[in-house]
Amino acid sequence: MTQYDADEVPQPDPAPDTGETAWGAPADAPETPPAALTPADAADAARLVSFGLQPKLLPARDVEYADLLRRYRDEPAFARLADAVAGGLGLVVLEVSTRAGMAVAAAEDSVFAVRMGDYARRASADSADRFLHGLAHLAIAAMSFPRPEDLADDGYIGRITVNGVDAFVRQACRRLEERAEQDGENTDPVTDAPGLESAWRVYARRSATGATKDARRLAGSTTGIIAKAVTFLVDSGFLQRTGDDAGGAYRTTARYQLQVRDMAGTAAMAELLELGIVPVSDGSASLLPGEETDDLDLVAEAGLPFHSG
């Protein structure tokens, strides 16, 4: 369940050779381990988890938070206790560090999990809306970390704009449309079978924006859907607003990278594999629809063919 990364998480075993000055010298560290854990320790562990539940809180801004993080790092027993508290609440610990704080994510059945129906009311009734809201989140992540290296590099900070994400997805849709046209394929969906319509068409035919009576963003437009997603991610402590240009500019936080890398990305990949879509072994597979389409060929360098799973 806890799938934190060996490179990221301060190891419970004392590692004085790391030479990190920020942690200070743990003067009393040798004395504490023998002492049995008390209810006060449990309270502290729960307090640390509660800090983790406030994703916008930065350890650097809160002395108590920073102290508890230091304790997590230095006292293996306390760390185990905090992990257990988190696990019991239905949380997955992604990383515990000064940069990300106590980064926890909600397990699927947790009370902390976000449900699509609560997120957008229309989404539960309308399958197209449901897809568009999900795709918006996926596209924001893809724009935030455009290359595999960006997602892997801890120091990377992604920058996105609302209009940029929209344009990016539209571009991808347009490419699919062009390819379908070249293949002479009729992509117009069969009437009365909305589930069989290609996903890109659903996005392409939704308008990008629209004038409203009160000058707010049209909620049902694609930029409206993306703006809703980024606002939500800001509240999750995953993005920070940096400006107003191009529909709103944002940069990513360490937590978002962890969440996408360790939770969302893998989960979506697993789902895709289950659909039998991604050929795991080699790249030259069904996903490359016609390599002769050499104009604006995205597939060539954009990550396909897949390397091993």
């Binding site: 699509m116 990016f168 939704r206 969440q259 995205l298 990550g303």
Partner: protein, 531 residues
């Protein structure tokens, strides 16, 4: 719907889907194809499908005229399809590289045509019609803000399938600063110019060849039509290029910079150079035609007017080409900067998941049903967590009974500005200026020496000579450009013929001050040509 309410009822909601069904009744098909095998194969069917789609694009325009009867009030007098075409025209012509057309601008520009259709109706009604037509072209009522037509085709194994064709005519795009602009879609442009399913480049060349022929034969009316078509083509061409450049900016690797794009840019630059030469030649020819065609009777006068309009159109084409060219020249440096940013960064320690290549790209072609499973999985784990609210019943009562906060419509109150009267520290009074102007209002055929003017001014007011001297010195470099632009009838000027000024207060040259009459009509003609 009450007939008395002024505005609301006008926005009769457009049908969410503009259902245009072309399919033949199902019973007819088997009779025509005796053995149950469809006579038209998929290839023949494709052409039919293309034409059905083209036909569908015109349906919203017909629909406007059909639905105007449902509006509260007498709107039968307005030709809605005509207004709609005019709107699409305006939007297309106002589309530039970066932005589209502004809502209000389009409404304002289409008003004269609507007013001409029903001159005795109030202006407010004209505006309502303009907005109604524009809203319906966007199809504000539907969530996609687009149209859908249903048509039928035979698929590869001969089964008859009904398909949905989704299209837009005018779409709204985000502009700078959160504004919303209008753009005419490719479908709209195609419907508008009536050149369905044609290649952009070749269609442009064809249009211009046609134009040249027409001009050489003196058929200016047709020439104007062809020139306008050429302009639509130009806009369309620029739009295609804009999209490609935008993709480059987002992801260098998404575009083939080895061959495709450089080829395309070269092609486009050649195209611009070619068109530029071509259009300049046309411009020269039409100008000649315009100037040679003497307005002796009504017919040649009409020719002259059309030629003048043609000059405007071709000039607009040239302007657009210049704009296109500057964008094309920026493309190379943009690519290099993006490549620096994207490709030459330090290599990462390890490779990870490729979100685009491994998730977004494979998901988009899937049927939406399957794609939703993937996006749902991402959503469930990628949105973060929310702490559920735990409310005590006692608090709940209070929360529920609290009246909702009223939304602020007007924002904060503006503070009353504290205005301070600035002291009038002008050197000369208004009366003095009037006196000086009167003194310098010389007849065109009688210029005077500055010395004489100064002496006369001194007799009226000891301060006045300073003002007269000042005005005279200014007149030594008369504002010819301003007078030309503003179409002035006359202009004060001063010339130095070498005579020295003998005056108790001033020194320098004894200027000759006079008034030059300007040929206002001639200048106006010149101006309209240059503009």
């Amino acid at each position: 719907m009450s007939r008395s309410a002024p505005f609301r009822p006008l926005s009769v909601p457009a049908p969410t889907l503009c259902d245009v069904t072309f399919s033949a009744p199902g019973a007819a098909a088997p009779q025509l194809n005796g053995h149950g095998r469809p006579a038209p194969g998929p290839a023949a069917d494709e052409g039919l499908a293309r034409r059905l789609r083209a036909l569908a694009c015109t349906a919203p325009l017909h629909d406007l005229d059909a639905r105007k009867a449902n509006l509260a009030g007498e709107y039968g007098v307005y030709a809605m399809a005509e207004v709609a075409l005019a709107v699409i025209d305006l939007v297309t012509l106002n589309m530039d590289f970066d932005t589209g057309a502004d809502h209000e601008e389009i409404v304002a520009k289409v008003l004269p045509r609507i007013a001409a259709q029903a001159p005795d109706r109030p202006a407010a009604e004209h505006e309502r019609v303009a907005r109604w037509v524009l809203e319906n072209l966007i199809n504000v009522g539907s969530v996609d803000r687009g149209f859908r037509a249903v048509y039928g085709t035979f698929d590869t194994d001969g089964a008859y399938v009904r398909r949905d064709y989704d299209f837009k005519l005018v779409e709204e795009v985000p502009g700078a600063g959160g504004t919303v602009y209008l753009r005419a879609t490719d479908e709209a442009v195609n419907v508008l110019v009536g050149a369905l399913d044609t290649d952009v480049t070749s269609a442009q060349i064809a249009a211009e060849v046609k134009l040249e022929v027409l001009i050489s034969r003196g058929r200016l009316a047709d020439a104007q039509l062809a020139a306008e078509q050429a302009r639509y083509r130009t806009v369309q061409y620029a739009e295609t290029l804009r999209k490609t450049l935008e993709a480059t900016r987002r992801n260098v690797r998404s575009v083939d910079w080895l061959r495709t794009v450089p080829d395309m840019i070269n092609e486009a630059l050649d195209h611009v150079a070619d068109r530029y030469r071509h259009e300049n030649a046309i411009l020269t020819n039409i100008r000649k035609a315009r100037d040679e065609a003497e307005a002796v009777d009504a017919r040649t006068g009409e020719h002259k007017r059309r030629a003048a309009e043609l000059v405007d159109i071709v000039k607009d084409c040239i302007r657009r080409h210049t704009q296109l060219q500057s964008r094309l020249l920026e493309a190379g440096p943009l690519f290099r900067a993006e490549q620096d940013r994207q490709a030459f960064a330090a290599p990462a320690a390890r490779t990870g998941l490729d979100l685009y290549g491994q998730l977004v790209a494979p998901v988009l072609p899937l049927p939406v049903e399957q794609a939703t499973r993937v996006t749902d999985a991402f959503f469930a784990r990628g949105t973060g967590l929310r702490t559920p609210a735990a409310v005590r019943v006692a608090d709940l009562v209070e929360v529920l009974l609290t009246p909702p906060v009223e939304r602020e419509h007007l924002g904060a109150e503006m503070p009353e500005p504290d205005l301070v009267a600035t002291p009038d520290d002008s050197r000369f009074s208004e009366a003095q200026l009037d006196a000086a102007t009167a003194l310098l209002a010389l007849p065109a055929d009688a210029p005077r020496r500055l010395s004489g003017l100064l002496a006369e001014a001194r007799r009226e007011d000891p301060e006045l000579p300073y003002l007269v001297a000042l005005l005279a010195v200014h007149a030594a470099s008369p504002p010819v450009g301003t007078a030309y632009r503003q179409g002035e009838q006359q202009l004060l000027f001063a010339v130095d013929d070498g005579t020295e000024l003998i005056d108790p207060e001033f020194g320098g040259a004894d200027l000759i001050v006079g008034t030059a009459l300007l040929d206002a009509a001639g200048m106006a003609a010149d101006r309209s040509e240059v503009a």
